[in-house]
Amino acid sequence: MDPGADGALNCRTPSPRPQIGGVRSSFAPWEDPAARPLVRFDGVSKAFGDTVAVKAVDLSIYEGEFFALLGPSGCGKTTLMRMLAGFESPDAGRIMLEGRDIQADPPHRRPVHMMFQAYALFPHLNVAQNIGFGLRRQGMAKAEIAGRVEEMLALVKLEGLGGRRPDQLSGGQRQRVALARALAPRPRILLLDEPMAALDKKLREETQFELMSLQQSLGMTFMIVTHDQDEAMVVADRIAVMREGRIVQAGRPAEIYEAPADRYVAGFIGDVNLFEGRVSAAEGPLLRLQAGDDRFDAEGAAAVGDQVWLAVRPEKIAIHLDPPADPRNRLAGKILDYGYLGDWTTYLVEVAPGRTIRAARANTTRAVDRPLGCGDPVWLTFAPSSAVVLTK
């Protein structure tokens, strides 16, 4: 294998591990109290019959942001997006666009465009007519429409395909047409409903990066709905994790990953090992925890006697073949199973009968003759600052 080619590929393709640090660390209008949100959900609720889809959601999205609504299917994220587009109306609360309540506006009067999950391209119109559909509705002159359509085709790299019908395109091309169609009338915010669900993994990863660069070069506001945590991590400036109609946590990808608000978020974003215990002592920021027979040290905020959960990510757990000298945060066990992913190997370590811990190790050297195998006794350690103390 040519290591050069491999390296070049890794620069374009995101690793399956989430990126830490986000895309643009300096961009954070949500931290500025003077910033005026572009979109504001104000106590928005929605029920379908007896099923509550969205419960009292408060959320602000700012100009130029790439915002992700992340959650499992049925968590209300699509309903929230459809309410912004105008296809559903909230039972309670207000939705504001640029400070104006848009409740009374029907979908066709909202400067909000959506890229539909199955693309919803008009099958009787060709690519150029599809892209020009919104422009014609705006009453733009024919020549101007043609110019803009060409511009959009170039933007999504579909030059020369304007005359094709949607059924003559590949899945990836259809996705680009849908994107161009929604972008052409220059919406104030572009909504993307699971935009990459129909693409294969490779194409999905490429498209994620193209979407990011497109969003930044156009300086537009994007809001994406996805159930794929990797996708949300890669593309978004900020992620809101939804569960059962509520927003559990909203923040930068790294905040969500490194400082999850609760066990649900910790488990939904990436893998996590949880230790249930009680705070037995506190020394400044350092908490001493008793979890069954194990004692752990971790940094966090909790009072002595509180029930807490210690969340440790697999990649923050080190694997040792010999017992480490420091007895703190040390667990002995044997390797039950492992999964070799190429760049990483995930080990399943049994520390007590029926109790397993996940530990991940970057394969920084070519481990052809693997030093670790099933049944090997190992010691696991993690730093007190690597663990997160969760109170709920």
């Binding site: 105008g86 979908p107 066709h108 465009h113 919803a120 391209l121 008009f122 559909f133 169609r181």
Partner: protein, 294 residues
Amino acid sequence: MKGGKSGLAAILPFLWLALFFAFPFLLVAKLSFSDTALAMPPYAPRIDWSQGLAGLQAFFAALDGETYARLTRDRLYLDAYLSSLRIAATGTGLLLLIGYPLAYGISRCPPAVRQALVMAVILPFWTSFLIRIYAWIAILKPAGILNAALGALGLPPVDILNTETAVLLGLVYAYLPFMVLPLYAVLEKQDESLIEAAQDLGATPLQAFWRVTFPLSLPGAAAGALLCFIPMAGEFVIPDLLGGSETLMLGRVIWTEFFANRDWPAASAVAIVLLATLVVPILLFEREQGKVLR
């Protein structure tokens, strides 16, 4: 083994067509080139199989296009032909006007209601076609239900039985399911997200209908129109029962030639002309459209 099975499956439709379309069609075509005769059956020539090949040659020599020439000489046939086309076209237009909103309305209903409404459209088929047409006589006749109702409302009576209006009423009534069902089929399976996409891109609900729903439903409208227009052009029972003597349609001309005039060649020629000038061009058009839609 496998090849043989699929071969048979492929041949069956052709066998069906050959047996029930091509063969009768050839018989009728042969008849149209014969002459009337005072015989049983009432036409000549007939193949004299005892003469062998010579008999067959004599038979073909005796066939001529004289009947067709006769059709062009008598205005009656042209008038009946044009009148049939006009009535069938008017009926198809009315069916589209009535059937489209009906099919669209059904397709917008909740699924459970849709099923019931489709059932209601098909339900009249459970009663004999003839009885239903006779019922229209009872409704439209001078002292019938319609005039009784008009009288009760203080309106003057109408006398429309045995007029073209009655024929159109009967045709629209009888063919409505054939228009509604294909239209409903395309409207019902139309992707709701297309309408949402159109509205999302700035189309009003009315624009979304005209720009998206309507063009996408045209294949259904074409199928419904074909399904109604062709049989209506050759319809016999409805014009005979509701149209009286003043409504001239080809179906009745064929019947008269066969049974009243015992002119089998003329009846066959009219049928062939109808087929050649109406059905064949329409089917060719349909094939072209199929290519476009592919």
